[in-house]
């Protein structure tokens, strides 16, 4: 267990740790999204369980993430179009 007792760390070390924590949090956010997407893509792409993925399952899984990103961008654009239209009228 880390020794969290003892005298406070000097400002430079505190800053170092703070930056480290921010980086780790960013990694954790990415990992969290990967878990969500794996769950989504599994439901979309995987049929019955066997000793390997079929070609169709493989390509579905390979495309799944990119199409999700594209979906997100597309919907953001559509929403902004709606808002621009509503603002102009």
């Amino acid at each position: 267990m880390a020794d969290i007792a003892g005298p406070n760390l000097d400002p430079a070390s505190q800053k170092e740790l703070q930056q480290f924590i921010e980086t780790e949090q960013a990694h954790a956010r990415v990992q969290s999204q990967v878990h969500n997407l794996t769950s989504l893509c599994w439901d979309k792409c995987v049929g019955s369980i066997s000793s390997g993925f079929s070609g169709k399952e493989q390509s579905c899984l390979a495309n799944c993430v990119d199409r999700f990103f594209d979906t997100s961008s597309y919907l953001v654009r559509k929403i902004e179009e709606k808002r621009a239209f509503a603002g102009a009228s």
């Binding site: 267990m1 020794d3 000097d10 878990h35 794996t38 599994w42 993925f53 390979a62 993430v65």
Partner: protein, 107 residues
């Protein structure tokens, strides 16, 4: 194990040497890394169990049949494979998005 009821050294004790401070910082970093890794493993296990239960045990009986067990073992491999693929494509797409959002260098 750290005592929760107060440090064994007083807060106004003599400051640590640079080596001691560096060691403490490294220990704290390792604790954080371990915590993040543990979270990740737990999340993976939780999702894998749910997905494979759905795929392999459609009608829970009085125990797990050998075919259900075989399915579960294969399912685990498949899920880990899927996770790995998604992980790689996600990170690659993030890099691509980051590069494309940056202005290109002037000539």
């Amino acid at each position: 194990m750290t005592s929760f009821f107060g440090a064994s050294r007083t807060p106004t004790a003599t400051p640590s040497s640079p080596a001691e401070t560096a060691a403490r910082v490294e220990n704290l970093k390792n604790s954080i890394r371990n915590e993040v890794a543990l979270q990740n493993a737990q999340e993976l296990m939780s999702k894998l169990t749910e997905k494979c239960y759905v795929k392999c045990v459609p009608k829970p009986g009085s125990d797990l049949s050998s075919s259900e067990q075989k399915c579960l073992a294969q399912c685990m491999d498949r899920y880990l494979e899927a996770f790995d693929m998604i992980n790689r494509t996600y990170v690659a797409r993030l890099k691509k998005e980051r590069i494309e959002s940056q202005p290109s260098d002037s000539l």
